[in-house]
């Protein structure tokens, strides 16, 4: 075992071969979770007793010959994902005592595959924000510099993986909430195609744009975990019947002939110089691996932001309206403000947003007719300090929303699969991420490109100070 944390693949192989037990990996994860709770506030709830029970059960199944794909892999879930008998707080005082009556499909699928739940992670309150600040359960700082935010809303999940507590944690992504914290924390975050992974048992932010996916260190682990998570679920009527391919099978297929589109207008404007350099270098690396990088255009750039705002505010307000009636004062002020503003948005704007989505999907399908995937930065800037209102970019001071989510949220409107992959570090030693975007239900291609990029680089192998 190296100092570098073991991957899902390595842990499962060790447990299946009898080299180590599931229980030993789980004890390590629990110990690290306790050790890092201050100052990172990574977990809202730890589940040590359940974890030990599950680990012993996995060891027993392995002894009986079960070939579990995730045997003994410790995992965590964002605390808006239900686990029966444990609270689902959504990171909010408003739901601090809500106990789940059932288990989310995604959790059950991981457990069935031999993974072991170690706890439920901190998050931006109600997933309605992206800094990882949380007045109830503590802020979730960046492992590379605790003065800076880790990104959100799946902040605890990202930090748990970045610190090496567990090799995989689940998050949700309605406007970049898996990909942003992954990028700012130096790990991999996958938002699958809308409908690819069940949302049953996952508290919504905006039903029509919510996606569930894994945060991991490697694209190979993302593929392994997606094979377990993906597929139709009768409990989620938006889950797709599209067949699930074996994502791990073709990861090493050569990239020769693949066309990668760079949508420079919009996605490459006004980047921090370190970010621009890192993403251009990544493009060159992929070209050296045999892919062909070409410039493309993604139309409706400005319109997509408005559609996202109309949909997320309206759907979030609709879900939370009953709770605003009886416990409004239990939400933090910024989240309550957003929900109340959402109550007042005209219905015609919501429907215009949903109509724009159809136009955007059709237009972007034309772009994807000439390329196999897109490459963009994951954010315009590296993680900034807590409390900042803007970041200084070449185009001038920029609101955090635009700098950190502007390149990610279009894919929540369109539903395309997208993965954030570490591609460098700033001069200050902060992680930089790139985003790969695939055709609908073609997670296999972006996972393959991400995997081969990681085989050729070592950004993902670097650990934060103390991690």
């Amino acid at each position: 075992m190296t100092a570098h944390p073991a991957s899902c693949l390595e842990i499962a192989a060790a447990v299946r071969s009898g080299t180590r037990t599931a229980r030993s990996f789980v004890e390590d994860a629990l110990q690290k979770a306790e050790r890092y709770q201050e100052p990172f506030h990574t977990f809202i709830t730890l589940t040590p007793e359940l974890a030990r029970e599950q680990a012993d059960r996995v060891d027993e199944r392995v002894r009986r010959g079960s070939q579990l794909p995730l045997a003994g892999v410790p995992f965590a879930v964002k605390d808006l994902i239900d686990v029966e008998g444990f609270r689902t707080t959504c990171g909010s005082r408003a739901f601090a005592d809500r106990v789940a009556g059932g288990t989310a499909t995604v959790v059950q699928r991981l457990l069935d595959a031999g993974a072991v739940l170690v706890g439920k992670t901190n998050m931006h309150e109600c997933a309605f924000g992206f800094t990882g600040e949380n007045p109830t359960f503590g802020d979730c700082p960046n492992p590379w510099d605790p003065e800076r935010f880790s990104g959100g809303s799946s902040s605890g999940s990202a930090v748990a993986v970045a610190l090496g507590i567990c090799p995989v944690a689940l998050g949700s992504d309605t406007g970049g909430s898996i990909r942003l914290p992954a990028a700012l924390s130096g790990i991999v975050g996958l938002k699958p195609t809308y409908g690819r992974v069940s949302r049953a048992g996952v508290a919504p932010l905006a039903w029509s744009m919510d996606h569930v996916g894994p945060l991991v260190r490697t694209a190979q682990d993302a593929a392994l975990v997606l094979e377990v998570l993906a597929g139709e679920d009768p409990r989620d009527e938006t889950s797709s019947r599209e067949p699930v391919p074996p994502y791990t099978r073709d990861l090493d297929e050569p990239l020769h002939g693949l066309r990668i589109g760079l949508p420079r207008a919009g996605f490459f404007d006004s980047l921090e110089p370190d970010v621009a350099r890192a993403v251009e270098a990544a493009s060159a690396e992929l070209a050296s691996l045999g892919a062909q990088c070409v410039d493309v255009t993604l139309p409706y750039w400005d319109e997509v932001l408005g559609a996202h705002r109309a949909i997320i505010f309206s759907e979030a307000a609709s879900y939370h309206q009953p709770f605003l009636v009886d416990r409004a004062d239990q939400y933090s002020e910024p989240v309550r403000l957003q929900l109340e503003a959402g109550l007042l948005l005209p219905a015609v704007d919501y429907l215009k947003g949903q109509r724009v989505r159809r136009v955007v999907r059709r237009a972007w399908a034309e772009t994807f007719a000439s390329v196999d995937l897109l490459l963009t930065p994951a954010s315009q800037a590296v993680a900034t300090r807590f409390g900042a209102q803007t970041v200084d970019l070449p185009g001038g001071p920029t609101l955090l929303l635009h700098a950190y989510l502007g390149l990610l949220l279009p894919l929540n409107v369109s539903g395309h699969p997208a993965i954030s992959v570490p591609c460098g570090f700033s001069e200050d030693g902060l992680p930089i991420g790139m985003q790969l975007v695939g055709r609908p239900f073609d997670e296999a291609t972006i996972l393959r490109v991400a995997h081969q990029y990681q085989q050729a680089t070592d950004w993902h192998r670097r650990m934060p100070p103390g991690g």
């Binding site: 408005g306 403000l337 109509r355």
Partner: protein, 65 residues
């Protein structure tokens, strides 16, 4: 980005009370009005977009019983 429309606290108070049925506290009205103004500004390009007869994407599913 178009100028942010200035919504008055009175407008927001009446909309919340009379249209939505969720009265907002006096001290919150200015903040909600400012955020709504910012949202409307961000939605301006979408509002201006001409999209003819396109129907909305919805999560309606014909399999629903």
């Amino acid at each position: 980005m178009p100028d942010t429309p200035r919504l008055s606290s009175e407008t927001v108070a009446r909309a919340a009370r009379e249209l939505v049925g969720t009265p907002l506290g006096e001290h919150r009205l200015a903040a909600v009005a400012a955020l709504l103004g910012a949202l409307i500004s961000e939605m301006a390009p979408m509002r201006a977009m001409e999209i003819a007869e396109v129907e909305p994407v919805t999560i309606y599913d014909a399999r629903e019983p």
